[in-house]
């Protein structure tokens, strides 16, 4: 039979390994340290069409993840999608920055690309982006392409 001291030692080791595993999952796997939700500010952006954008999709500027999409809802007055972006408080963007919905790779997930503008005033929490560009919808693209081809054919005659 083990003494109480030995038991305590083993349970202590168990606790240390367990806390180590949880820290590993939080810091290395979920990368909690580099992007905590504590110091973010929300920015609104209105899009005609968000395509397949999802909540938690990354917000990137110059390819660097600077925030995440926190909410997507439909505005029943302007019939547009209102996307809330939670941007990391460390990054400031000019007031006339623009947002685009882009796709990583050909079939990859969609994300929001922030292009900084030239204004001297920075965006504050709750501001709405004026310039936005909707997601590219493949059907519209093909439709446009066919229409252009048809128009070209007409012109040749």
């Amino acid at each position: 039979m083990m003494t109480r001291k030995e038991l305590d030692l083993w349970v202590g080791i168990f606790a240390v390994i367990g806390i180590g595993a949880m820290l590993f999952l939080s810091l290395k796997v979920a990368n909690l340290a580099s992007f905590s939700s504590a110091d973010t500010y929300p920015i609104l952006a209105k899009f005609d069409n968000i395509g397949a954008l999802k909540v938690r999709a990354p917000v990137k500027s110059a390819g660097v993840v600077v925030g995440r999409v926190s909410e997507i809802r439909f505005d029943n007055e302007s019939f547009e999608a209102v996307v809330t972006l939670n941007v990391d408080g460390r990054y400031k963007f000019p007031k006339d920055s623009s947002a685009k919905i882009l796709t990583s790779g050909l079939l990859g997930e969609q994300y929001i690309g922030l292009t900084p503008g030239g204004d001297s005033v920075n965006l504050k929490g709750g501001d709405t982006l004026k310039l936005t560009q909707s997601a590219v919808v493949l059907e519209n693209l093909i439709g446009q392409f066919l229409y252009n081809k048809a128009a070209e054919g007409e012109g040749k005659k």
Binding site: M2, G18, A21, L25, V29, G108
Partner: protein, 265 residues
């Protein structure tokens, strides 16, 4: 003829009521008693520490080794599928999300049920069969407070730790196979993983799952032990029932929890 069918239906109903509904009611009352008598397990924490040793520390090796193997298999299988779509760099995401959301809590729970749950049932059942529990009552020691509650809390505490350990070892196994063996780029392996795994959505939800499984498994284990007929056959039957019932409970609860937690938006 109709009389015979009615007889059959009555027998079936009686079986269901006696074996399931009635036992579930008793088990819920037993859980309430255990929770009410939990004071001593925390005031005299060394009782619980001893049980954490038996339920948690002794399960460490099996959990860590199986986690490593499961992660390695995920690395191999995931690479084989992903490379066809030319997206082998998301291997880290696949391995981590599979483990943290599903396989970590579920497989660790199943292993915990067969490794620790069965041991708890057999121990309590044998204590009952050899009349140790009755002897405690004679000495005015409440067996629920002294025997059942510490084991229950030890299981509830150990299970999330073991599940986290399983997931961590699995991610490491996936890393070993994916990066070291196959040669997926190390930078994209980790960065893709970190970009997709969310602390609140994935890690915390996985933790909640493992906590729920821990409560379910240990509850079933202590109840089956305490309820076992005091014979050798009774104890062996109760041990089998613990493993079967708690495995089913884990898988069924997993469906419910997954439906509540992950709806793809």
């Amino acid at each position: 003829m109709t009389g015979r069918i009615a007889e059959l239906m009555r027998a079936l109903g009686a079986r269901i009521v006696n074996n399931w509904v009635w036992r579930l009611g008793v088990a819920i009352r037993f859980l309430w008693l255990t929770l009410r008598e939990s004071g001593p397990s925390f005031r005299r924490f060394h009782l619980t520490i001893r049980e954490i040793y038996f339920a948690g520390v002794l399960s460490l090796v099996v959990i860590m080794v199986s986690g490593l193997f499961v992660g390695m298999v995920l690395g191999l299988q995931g690479y084989d599928t992903l490379v066809r779509f030319g997206s082998s760099e998301v291997l880290g995401t696949l391995v981590a999300l599979t483990l943290v959301r599903e396989l970590g809590p579920v497989v660790a729970g199943l292993l915990f049920a067969s490794r620790a749950g069965s041991a708890i049932t057999a121990e309590i059942g044998l204590m009952k069969a050899t009349e140790q529990l009755a002897a405690m009552e004679m000495m005015a020691v409440d067996p629920i407070a002294r025997v059942v509650a510490p084991r229950f809390w030890a299981g509830v505490i150990s299970m999330p730790v073991l599940a986290a350990l399983f997931s961590a070892m699995g991610v490491f196994g996936g890393y070993l196979v994916g990066v070291r063996l196959i040669g997926v780029d190390e930078g994209s392996f980790w960065s893709q993983m970190q970009a997709s795994v969310d602390f609140r959505e994935d890690i915390v939800n996985g933790f909640i799952k493992s906590l729920v499984f821990g409560i379910a498994v240990t509850w079933i284990a202590v109840y089956e032990g305490y309820d076992a007929p005091p014979t050798a056959e009774g104890v062996s039957g109760a041990t089998t029932r613990t493993v079967v019932t708690s495995s089913l409970a884990i898988l069924a609860l997993d469906v419910v929890l997954t439906a509540l937690m992950f709806r793809g938006q």
